[in-house]
């Protein structure tokens, strides 16, 4: 289960949902859309390999960014340094997947940037580049719920802070949840989402629509057989 599947459990074409869930290999997608966001997260992670404040020196980006991507990257890097200034932290390595044995699923994919402060407090940073407005409560966003579930063991701690930052607009939303209490709600939410996905992929009927524009499985799709 990826964050994308959980987010689109109700709306995604059931055939695509089924194919994505089973990891079916489709046509190649463009990866450029995620290039700037991935570069920012990766450079922030490197910035904090040792306990450090954010420093623009670590945000060199890639020589292969297009000029417009470079503008977006530089502005995002400047906002990262400004929004998290004077907060020395160390990045924490996490596995790429987390098993949720009770539901029999693996949660797979990025889970933000987990960091620790010098006094041991734990902070999950989720970095965005524009898009939908930041939620007033970070837990309203699927990506946050997913990241917290992925990191549940690590976040089971006295001092936890969750920060969602939009590095295109320079905005942040911060929550300091009670991890143990919030976990039950999140488990319930995950169970509901997983049940929904399993129900929908029982009959993976295809449906033509705007979503087909970025579906990698259209080549063999019954909805387009007559084309």
């Amino acid at each position: 289960m990826t964050a994308g599947l959980l987010r689109s459990a109700d709306t995604m074409c059931a055939r695509r949902l089924d194919h994505e869930h089973r990891g079916v290999r489709g046509n190649r997608r463009s990866t450029q859309r995620f290039r700037v966001a991935n570069a920012i997260v990766e450079d922030a992670r490197l910035n904090h390999i040792d306990t450090r404040e954010p420093d623009l020196h670590f945000f060199a980006g890639s020589d292969e960014l297009f000029a417009e991507q470079r503008h977006v990257y530089d502005n995002a890097a400047a906002w990262y340094v400004a929004l998290f200034a004077r907060r020395p932290v160390r990045s924490v390595d996490i596995d790429f997947e987390t098993e949720h044995s009770r539901l029999g699923v693996r949660l797979v994919g990025p889970a933000g940037l987990p960091v620790e402060t010098t006094d041991g407090a734990r902070e999950l940073r989720v970095l965005r580049l524009g898009g939908a407005p930041l939620p007033a409560d970070p837990f309203d966003a699927t990506e946050i719920r997913f990241a917290v579930l992925r990191l549940a063991e690590w976040l089971d701690h006295d001092a936890v802070r969750i920060v969602v930052a939009d590095l295109a607009r320079g905005e942040v939303s911060v929550a300091e949840p009670d991890a143990s209490r919030g976990r039950d709600d999140l488990d319930e939410w995950l169970a509901e989402r997983v049940a929904r996905i399993r129900a929908r992929i029982e009959t993976p009927t295809s449906r033509a629509g705007v979503e087909c524009g970025w579906c990698p499985f259209v080549a063999g799709c019954p909805a387009h057989r007559a084309s």
Binding site: L65, E68, H71, V72, A78, L129, A168, V210, G213, H224
Partner: protein, 257 residues
């Protein structure tokens, strides 16, 4: 793999908006449709247009635009009074609305896959309204802004809409018509509707295939560098080719940071 190699998916997607951007400026198309970048210089919000589209959908899904009391009630429920510009848009639609339609749909999503000959592509679109009447599948595009074409047939976006709707029309033994409803008070006449026959629909399919072939072969995605185009571009603040360069309008951190 070079950045150029990962720019395009195996199957290129085309929509009326992306096709318009491609025709206007290769660089703008790349920034928006391939790179998905946030706009450096956003245009004015489309709040009014979105509200009018949404109200027209609700009015026709729940009743009819010819029922004055019902329309007034729908507008009131959305905080719109009966004499303002929004009610004017609705009133101007009413005189264009097909009275004898047997069926209609609003916000209809369509997708049509072109498989062969190469290159493959996927065309998608969301049609504002579709009516069935007089042997026609009548596609309506509500316009709340300016008018730029005297004939709908000259607008590539409309040609794509017609091509998208053609299989549904064919299955129902209907002809296709695309009509623009210009609902702004200052525009007197709608452009001539577009009613392509089977040959013209084939021609459109070939036009779209050639566009996708050009996209796949495009080596540089150079900007249009045209004052009229660049002055309205939402990426002019980050485009090195802009004829009207500007500072990005997005927020920047304070200097002391």
């Amino acid at each position: 793999m070079s950045p150029r190699d990962t720019l395009l998916a195996d199957i290129v997607a085309l929509s009326p908006s992306s096709l318009e951007r491609w025709n206007r400026c290769r660089r703008e198309y790349r920034s928006r449709d391939l790179l998905g970048l946030p706009e450096s210089n956003p245009g004015p919000p489309a709040d009014m247009g979105n509200l009018v589209h949404s109200l027209l959908r609700m009015i026709h899904e729940q009743g009819t635009c010819r029922d004055d009391a019902f329309v007034t009630d729908v507008l009131a429920r959305h905080g719109v009074d009966g004499v303002g510009p929004v009610s004017g848009f609705i009133a101007r639609h009413r005189v264009r609305c097909p009275a004898d339609a047997s069926r209609s749909r609003h916000e209809l999503e369509l997708a049509r896959f072109h498989r062969a000959p190469a290159p493959m592509f996927m065309a998608t679109g969301r049609l504002d309204a579709v009516w069935i009447h007089d042997g026609l599948l009548d596609v309506r595009d509500y316009k709340t802004g300016g008018s730029f074409f005297e004939r709908v047939a000259d607008d590539p976006r409309a040609r794509l809409q017609a091509w998208l709707a053609a299989p549904i029309a064919a299955r129902n033994a209907l002809g296709v018509r695309v009509r623009y409803e210009h609902l702004a008070a200052e525009i007197d006449d709608d452009p001539d509707p577009f009613e392509p026959d089977a040959d013209e629909l084939d021609t459109i399919g070939e036009e779209l295939r050639m566009v996708v072939a050009q996209i796949r072969a495009e080596p540089t995605f150079a900007g249009a560098a045209d004052t009229a185009v660049c002055a309205r571009c939402r990426y002019r603040g980050v485009c090195p080719d802009s004829a009207t360069p500007a500072e990005p309008a997005w927020p920047t951190p304070p200097d002391e940071c």
